[in-house]
């Protein structure tokens, strides 16, 4: 066992709630604290993104420390785009030394989507190999290169998976690989198409993966019909059914945000009923002030003591 709050709660059978905090594009620690304060008492752990969409921001590690000071149990997100195996392993050791208990292993968005499209990517290892790396460092006390680790990083290991990406048929198989590599919790891409998610979960259950790895279903509230359309057409791998867009379009513009919250709450309630789903990951992108409201309406508050 690690010191992770979500590992402890999952072990107890609690339906966990996580959310995320995107660090600011600057050295403003107060901005991190402000976002954190919106999530205080609302979640069991908070993900801290690592230069998401390849836009330069305060580092995940540094932001994690600020949130930790506030009493959070942060989840350090780490992508393979910007660091080679030397830097990755060094950051893992540093994070664990500072009492970070969770890591989310990701490949990372391609740099062409961000603010430095001319930058060179690294991808020395991929997300699967990153999971393996953390597991080997923690459980066997070894680095990729074979050297011994003195002071093992005791991290609860997570990953992400997009149940809606192609080829659909291998998505559960791919999760199986991640579990085999050492993945203990999984946060999914935001779910709008419950039917397709259900099919994916069926494949996950067939393989018994939900028993080896805690599946946390991802949700993102839609602010407007425009945002829903944008997600559908412009965000790769996102599956937003037309009925949802129509439902948002069916209410006046000024009421769409409210409707979006309602949809999100309903979605969480339905996801709670899906066998094998053990928590929810609420990603309210630049709309963190709504997480508390969503969690409360979905019957997920208050949270158990950390």
């Amino acid at each position: 066992m690690t010191q992770s709050n979500i590992e402890r709660l999952l072990e107890k059978g609690v339906f966990v709630v996580t959310s995320e905090c995107g660090p600011p594009k600057g050295a403003d620690a107060e901005a991190v604290r402000k976002k954190g304060s919106l999530l205080k008492g609302v979640v069991d752990a908070v993900n801290v993104t690592d230069n998401q969409t390849s836009v330069v921001r305060m580092s995940s590690f540094a932001s994690c420390l600020i949130l930790k000071e506030m009493g959070f149990d942060p989840i350090l997100q780490m992508v393979c785009r910007d660091r080679n195996r030397i830097a990755i392993q060094s950051d893992i050791l540093g994070a664990a030394a500072h009492g970070i208990n969770n890591i989310l292993c990701l490949s990372g968005d391609h740099q062409s989507f961000g603010d430095h499209p001319g930058g060179k990517n690294v991808f020395d290892i991929d997300s699967m190999q990153l999971i393996q790396t953390v597991r080997t460092m923690r459980d066997e006390g070894r680095l990729i290169g074979g050297e011994e680790v003195k002071g093992r990083p005791n991290l609860f290991i997570g990953a992400a998976e997009n149940p809606f990406a192609d080829p659909f048929e291998i998505r559960a198989m791919r999760l199986g690989k991640k579990v085999k590599a050492g993945c203990q919790f999984l946060q999914t891409q935001c779910i709008y198409n419950l039917e397709k998610f259900g099919k994916w979960m069926e494949m996950v259950r067939e393989r018994g993966l939900h028993e080896k790895c805690a599946i946390l279903a991802g949700v993102t509230p839609l602010k407007s019909a425009g945002m829903a359309r944008y997600m559908k057409t412009s965000v790769p791998g996102m599956d937003v059914p037309d009925e949802l867009i129509d439902r948002l379009k069916g209410v006046p513009k000024e009421k769409q945000a409210e409707e979006g919250i309602k949809i999100c709450v309903e979605m969480i309630q339905q996801l709670k009923e899906v066998p094998g789903v053990r928590g929810v990951h609420i990603m309210a992108i630049e709309w963190e002030e709504k997480v508390a409201e969503i969690a409360k309406a979905a019957g997920l508050s208050p949270r158990p003591e950390a």
Partner: protein, 223 residues
């Protein structure tokens, strides 16, 4: 083959600005096949440069010459008798050929007219596509004959990432997702079970991580 693109005329004009006598040197290997730096392209570049310099009122003398290969001194030496008559050589070979010509004539200005891009294949007349990055440790037997290093935008060994959509890569809708291709091919071959194996972190040593690589066949050496 090695595929390259000719540099824009303006860039070449800028490079040759100081010179009145140049030698444009083509290559009959890959760069001819991909229609970037063969005899025909040498002729086109020469006439474009002459025309632009005539317009400027600064005449230029250009010799056109195309070698069998620019990656072999045996052929490069064919220009030895006359190379000194020219102030600069504009090479239309790949990056290897350009450098080897420069190495052979260290006193001579050798300028690149080609941007070397990739190791690829001819998809159709006039269309070439990348297939290999020369990583030095081929994994095609594990990935259904499709290279994740060269063909996945993130070079993932255990893809696809979450951005694979309808068989296409999130980075460019015209690019096939390498991992969709790999999965399809493994299925065709009845080897989808291989997908379940985790490919461990790659040893990049055989790649260019240690600087320029050298290959030696002792049995072929003369001394």
């Amino acid at each position: 083959m090695i595929v390259g693109n000719r540099k824009p005329l303006e860039e070449i004009q800028e490079m040759i600005k100081p010179y009145k006598k140049i030698l444009i040197l083509g290559c009959r290997e890959c760069i001819t096949v991909c229609a970037a730096g063969g005899e025909r392209e040498v002729a086109v570049l020469a006439s474009e440069l002459k025309l632009s310099r005539t317009k400027e009122g600064r005449e230029i003398e250009i010799k056109e010459f195309t070698l069998e290969r620019q990656c072999d001194y045996e052929y490069i030496d064919q220009i030895k008798p006359f190379v000194d008559e020219y102030e600069a050589v504009v090479s239309m070979a790949c990056g290897a050929g350009i450098q080897y010509t420069a190495e052979r004539f260290p006193q001579k200005i050798v300028l690149p007219a080609i941007n070397t891009t990739f190791l690829g294949v001819t998809l159709e007349q006039g269309v070439w596509s990348e297939r290999c990055q020369g990583c030095g440790d081929c994994v095609l037997h594990l990935t259904g004959g499709i290279c994740p290093v060269a063909r996945c935008a993130k070079s993932l060994f255990n893809g696809p990432c979450g951005g694979s959509s309808n068989g296409k890569c999130e980075v460019n809708k015209d690019t096939d997702c390498a991992w969709q291709l790999i999965v399809d091919r493994l299925k065709t071959l009845g080897q989808l079970d291989r997908y379940e194996d985790i490919i461990p972190a790659k040893d990049w040593k055989p790649s260019r991580e240690g600087g320029p690589r050298v290959r030696i066949r002792e049995d072929l050496r003369l001394d």
